[in-house]
Amino acid sequence: MIAARRRTVMGTLLHIFVGVMTIVSVTLLVSIVAMMVAKGATALTWEFVSQPSKSFGAEGGIRSQILGTLLLTLGAGFVSLPLALGTALYQTEYLAQRLKAVSMRFIYALNGVPTILFGLFGYMVFGIYLGLGVSWLSGVLILAMMILPTMIVSIREAIEAIPARYREAGLALGMTQAQLIRAVIVPQSLAGIITGMLLGLARATGETAAIMFTATTFSGVDLPQAINEPVTTLQTHILLLSQEAIHSSATDAVWGAALMLMVLVFCFSLGAFVVRSRLRFAA
């Protein structure tokens, strides 16, 4: 009897606890988004989006920053997609069963490396050792490395989700492993491959630490004219502007830039979501 009552009390307490925690976290997240939208929406005019910045961001717009962020992000996606696809295929199709688990653990661990370490590594290897300096190319390479684990994991999951009977149907027709990959495995996991790439891009877009070291200068540059020139990005622009928060024009601009960045990240995530739901039903 007592035990039963205790159980109900515990149950109620647990219910209240998870309820409160949910309310707190949802409130936090919603208020961040709401604040961004509230503060940023007024600043985010077409003028602001389409003009280059002037006097270190205090005036003008964020055109070069938006393009810079896109350049870096898309470049990183372009570099890492073949690497991630190749690695995922190697793991699922060629690696011995025992090594699969080991390699996966390694990749999960890489996924958890703080991005500042990627930045430092990229700066030393690409920037100094390979002499690429602070440049678009260095930034692309280091971002590509950074999002690689995320992409490998989601592509691999997509490949493993292919029902065995599809493979068998292909193999029974006499296909080699390479033919099977081209005819069955890649087409059947295409949705997952694209989703993986978009999630990686969303991650890269939100990244600041790694590219601060490798790719960007805070101001004074427009678009890079060559791959060895630095780019400027929304992320670093926000950092710069927020340090000058006393100027009211800078405050407006920082919210505008922040909202823009959020919109970009959101677009990639939304894209991933759409592809996932669309292609799943087509397949």
Binding site: Q97, P163, A164, R165, Y166, R167, E168, A169, G170, L171, A172, L173, G174, M175, T176, Q179, R182, A183, V184, Q188, A282, A283
Partner: protein, 258 residues
């Protein structure tokens, strides 16, 4: 039995298991170069496993083990002293229709040429005539000729099974493994497929897994009866159905009305 040089498949002391679970032990068989051989036996007796051993499709299952020797046209297909075995090539020779047909999520047309296209066996210009021929052969042509470019997965189960058959035939196999190819067909299409099987049997070895004893009796020259982890009995179809020598066979045959 005829002498063994005329055999397409020869199995000597073959043991099949998944991990430590034996599925079939001590299998000794030879399967003729021409004619239909039926494999019968209760559900779970290892018919599918045995069939998939012949084209090495079980290889993909991590715990599968095969010992003993399996010869296809005189060549060992599992172990070879002289070099690696070209498994894809082996599978090109041995067409297969699976128990559950698995079509690719594309059109009917593309499913038929799925193997052809990747293996580049024929020029593309021949594809449409091959599609028509093979779909005619499995008597599916009339049902689908107006919707060749519609999704194959819209077809009924029985139509899918015939499409899978056509897909295997399109690659021009020189031996065939059929795992209950008429399981979801109506009497009329069953009749058509049986005629096809008989016709194919005059040109190549056809191994047919079936639950319908009357079908085994009608179509095959040789019957293999699997039960309780081994080949219980095998031999000419007439002997086997008229006077089975094993008691288990007698019981199994008696339990199924012919």
């Amino acid at each position: 039995m005829k002498n063994s040089t005329d055999a397409a498949f020869i199995l000597k002391d073959v043991n099949l298991s998944f991990g430590s679970v034996p599925i079939l032990s001590n299998v000794n068989l030879s399967i003729q170069e021409r004619g239909v051989t039926s494999i019968i036996g209760p559900s779970g007796s290892g018919k599918t496993t045995l069939l998939r051993t012949l084209n090495r499709l079980n290889d993909a299952l991590p715990s599968f083990q095969c010992t003993g020797s399996v010869l296809f046209r005189g060549q060992s297909i599992y172990t070879n002293g002289t070099g690696p075995i070209d498994v894809p090539r082996l599978r090109q020779h041995i067409g297969m229709v699976m128990q559950k047909p698995c079509l690719f999520p594309t059109t009917i047309y593309k499913n038929v040429v799925f193997g052809l296209k990747r293996l580049q066996l024929k020029p593309r210009s021949d594809f449409s005539s091959i599609v028509e021929e093979t779909l005619q052969a499995v008597s599916l042509w009339d049902e689908v000729k107006d919707r060749l470019h519609r999704p194959a997965n819209d077809l009924s189960q029985g139509q899918q099974q015939r499409l899978a058959f056509a897909r295997a035939l399109a690659c021009e196999p020189t031996a065939l493994l059929l795992d209950e190819p008429t399981a979801s067909l109506d009497p009329q299409s069953t009749q058509a497929i049986e005629t096809l099987i008989q016709e194919l049997g005059t040109r190549m070895p056809v191994i047919l897994v079936t639950h319908r004893l009357e079908q085994a009796k009608r179509l095959s020259e040789t019957v293999i009866f699997l039960s309780e982890g081994c080949v219980c009995e095998w031999g000419g179809v007439d002997d086997m159905f008229a006077c089975p020598s094993e008691e288990k066979t007698q019981q199994y045959l008696a339990g199924h009305t012919l």
